[in-house]
Amino acid sequence: MLGGKPLQISARLLGTTTVFDITGDIDLAHSPEVRKALLSEIKDKKTPKVVMNMSKVRYIDSSGVASLVEGLKASRDAGTRFMLVGLSPAAREVLQLSRLLKIFETFDTEEAALAG
């Protein structure tokens, strides 16, 4: 690894909800890790509710968006509720540019997502 800060993904189980706390940039170097964690939780563990806490994600590129879309599609197939929390301006912009913002359930705070 030459220059990149490692992406940190940690998972918390709150009842039947798994909350992923993501720290770092989701780009070509790191989006496979996000994809793997998401699909494992949704497809393999069939967790009813998955929340992606992205409040510490400063940047997400098209490969990161693709991973989120894969997660969303898998969640629809599995009957899992998939939510995004704390989108940064950069993350919100790329979802708007790709016209995908409206297809995700987004919340400003984790509390709002858990109550939703």
């Binding site: 990149g4 780009d27 590129d61 879309v69 301006p89 912009e93 995908l100």
Partner: protein
């Protein structure tokens, strides 16, 4: 070094270098005078262009050469809008099929195919050419004040 050249770097096609380039682009475009959203636009376009080179031109090989140069485009050279920030990205991969440079329809909800769309949305000029065995992508973003002056 020409008077308008701001930065020239050569990097390997390793995805772990993307954050290094993004950091440089953020600082450089801030210094150039872009607003925060414009800084994010230019940074995003360069990151996506590099990602495309790494994935498609070099097929995931991490040790190939990419050149990135950033220049101030003077008003004399550009009649469209005035002073702008130009980025040239050069790779030594095979010739790109221009028919594949379209991206996907945004109506489709599926992963992939968004990078080129982000680049086009983020920059004022996007030009691709094949020159001397290299792929050259030229991106330009004009300063907002200059755009308003030119309209």
């Amino acid at each position: 070094m020409g008077p308008d050249l701001l930065l020239k770097v050569e990097l390997p096609s390793d995805p772990s270098m993307l954050c290094v380039v993004r950091g440089a682009m953020e600082r450089l475009t801030e210094t150039f005078g872009f607003s925060a959203p414009e800084v994010r636009s230019v940074t995003r376009a360069v990151d996506e262009a590099l990602t495309n080179i790494m994935r498609h031109s070099y097929g995931g090989a991490v040790d190939r050469r990419i050149e990135v140069s950033c220049s101030r485009v003077s008003k004399k050279e550009r009649v469209q809008g005035g002073q702008g920030f130009e980025v040239r990205l050069v790779d030594y991969g095979p010739k790109i099929d221009k028919a594949k440079l379209r991206g996907r329809k945004l109506e489709e909800i599926k992963p992939g195919g968004l990078g080129l769309h982000f680049i086009r949305q983020s920059m004022d000029v996007v030009e691709f050419k094949r020159a001397r065995g290299t792929n050259v992508l030229r991106l330009v973003k004009y300063l907002q004040a200059e755009k308003l002056e030119g309209t």
